[in-house]
Amino acid sequence: MVGSSRADHETASVEPGQDLLIVGFGNDLAGDDGVGLEVVRLLRRWPRPSGVRVEEGGSDSLRLPGLWHGEARVWLVDAVVSGRPPGSLLRLGHEEILAVPQRHATVHHLSLPESLRWIFLAYPPMAAVRYELWGIEPLRVGLAAGLSPPVADAACSVASALRRALADRVSGAVGLPA
């Protein structure tokens, strides 16, 4: 049984075969686009179960294979434009994120869904990875440093939610889409 104290997190492990990589994507200099990075930085301040790694992915999601060390599951944290109020959290499961039709994010960066589809084709060992997207609705995306107030608040909330989700995984109460 694992609770939420620091000591418990330091000694606990996720279930065998459930190793997890959490990657935040974004650009610190593009306003709320940097929220994925902020979330994983907050998450790094807390102890994590062994078997869980946290990485910053920058703005090129095609770098994911270089960050992956064989984890069965990969959680992606990114800004997501869906028309919801700024700061809203949207969680998408494996099939949902792969089905998002978006292609290019910029002229020389593919979007996250397109990148995942390409990685699926190019890296057979990663074909079995199950993804989940933790998406945060931005308020402003453009050349600016720092997050807007509602998105900065959301970054803290999402980091806490991720921390709780990690605790659930250790205790066996995994609340993930298949």
Partner: protein, 440 residues
């Protein structure tokens, strides 16, 4: 649509929101207006650097771009070392060359295979291509990742290098790691040559062709290289690097946030892979030379769509020369660190290198305490913008003349192909995921 008044609007080039678009106005069969609207933020960096210590420059300026971060780093270090009269050692020069090759592999692999080739093969994306070319699509991403790993090896990480310093490197890669990268490069060459054959089998339309002035740096040695010693044009002119402001005139236009550039004569010009092949393709060797002759049997002709194939030739060169550079490094004694000593003093320096999209200029003036007095960065995309508009105009005129009934959708696709062929670095900023299908 009335033939007497027709506006072709591509609001978001490459499905990019708020960063680049194309507007073409046609009246009575004549192209009246062509605008390529760009938002580019690099100007802010120049002001940001004023008053900063020169040792902070690299960490700031590399953030201009995520995919070009190694290139901006090397250009900045070269300019600062010029200002400080630091002479690079052979090993530092060689390692920086390998870093530039890794950046070129990453950038060209993504552009040629994911962003350009689908247009020529009739697919709407690289993923759709996988249905017919599964092995090629898989290899393309692995090649891009190899470019990342080369940059990690030399720069300390795949983006925004931290191991590169004024005067040297913080940590030198060991022979075991260099040998591993060398082997990966060697194994990438055969499948890459398969792409050359694929590209050679494709027809490249000629509606984008028009005479162009090309500009590229003269290589520092008698070989095809991405670092140079002077500025050369395809008209036979040659200028010292330090005189770049006298050769290239930047100017503002109302419709774009980015500056445009022209030669002092007022002519627009092109920098990039095709310019480098036009001026220095005869210096290519080995499989790169064979690829050049295969894809450009009549030499470099003035058709911007062929810039995609020029990048493919440079990919072969970068992989092939990367192997040679690794061999050079393996021939040097292994050591942990190498720094050239220097004294801080006032000075001004220029760094010019050839990066994936063309010639990149950095210039810094520092005072006797090492603080930046002024900074100037001229990017390849800014230099190419005026020529891009010129090519868009010519392409529109040719397409309307040859196919009077061409519909707006086809015209938009063809104009996007022209703009994409320049591989413009409009912005490396935004990475949001969009759920609305219409904005895919």
């Amino acid at each position: 649509m009335s033939p007497s008044g027709r506006n072709i609007v591509i609001p978001h080039l490459g499905r990019v929101e708020g960063h680049g678009g194309i507007f073409v106005k046609v009246v009575g069969g004549t192209v009246h207006e062509v605008n390529m609207d760009i938002f580019e933020g690099s100007r802010y960096y120049e002001a940001l650097l004023k008053g900063k210590h020169f040792l902070e420059v690299q960490g700031i300026i590399t953030r201009v771009c995520a995919i070009c971060s190694a290139n901006h780093t090397v250009a900045a270090l070269t300019a600062l070392e010029d200002a400080l009269s630091v002479r690079q050692s052979e090993r530092i020069h060689t390692l920086r060359g390998l870093l530039l090759l890794g950046a070129t592999i990453e950038s060209h692999a993504l552009h040629v295979f994911a962003l350009a080739l689908p247009d020529f093969l009739g697919f709407d994306s690289v993923i759709a291509m996988a249905a017919k070319y599964p092995d090629e699509v898989a290899f393309a991403l692995r090649l891009k990742q190899l470019g990342n790993r080369v940059q990690e090896l030399v720069g300390g990480r795949a983006v925004h290098p931290i191991n590169t310093l004024v005067g040297g490197f913080g940590k030198l890669p060991g022979h075991r790691d260099v040998r591993a990268i060398r082997d990966e490069l060697a194994s990438a060459l055969p499948p890459l040559l398969g792409f050359v054959e694929l590209a050679a089998s494709l027809d490249v339309p000629e509606w984008a062709a028009q005479p162009t002035v090309f500009v590229a740096l003269r290589p520092y040695e008698e070989a095809f290289r991405f670092r140079g010693v002077s500025i050369c044009t395809s008209r036979g002119e040659e200028f010292p690097l330090a005189a770049y402001r006298d050769v290239i005139r930047e100017f503002t236009v109302e419709h774009s946030h980015a500056k445009h550039s022209a030669l002092v004569s007022g002519e627009t010009y092109m920098v990039g892979s095709m310019a480098r092949l036009k001026l220095w393709g005869h210096l290519l060797k080995g499989r790169a030379r064979e690829s050049f002759e295969r894809l450009f049997p009549r030499g470099v002709v003035d058709n911007i769509l062929l810039n995609n194939w020029a990048q493919l030739v440079e990919l072969v060169h970068s992989v092939e020369h990367g192997i040679e550079v690794c061999d050079e490094l393996l021939g040097m004694p292994e050591c942990a660190r190498e720094m050239v000593p220097y004294e801080v003093r006032a000075g001004r320096g220029v760094g010019a290198i050839e990066v994936p999209r063309g010639t990149l200029f950095h210039e810094y003036e520092i005072d006797d305490e090492g603080l930046v007095v002024s900074a100037n960065v001229v990017t390849p995309t800014a230099q190419n913008l005026a020529n891009t508009e010129r090519d868009l105009r010519a392409a529109t005129e040719h397409l309307l003349a040859d196919h009077a009934s061409i519909d707006d959708g086809q015209l938009r696709l063809n104009l996007e192909m022209v703009a994409r062929a320049y591989d413009p670095c409009i912005s490396c900023s935004v990475h949001v995921t969009r759920l609305a299908a219409g904005e895919a």
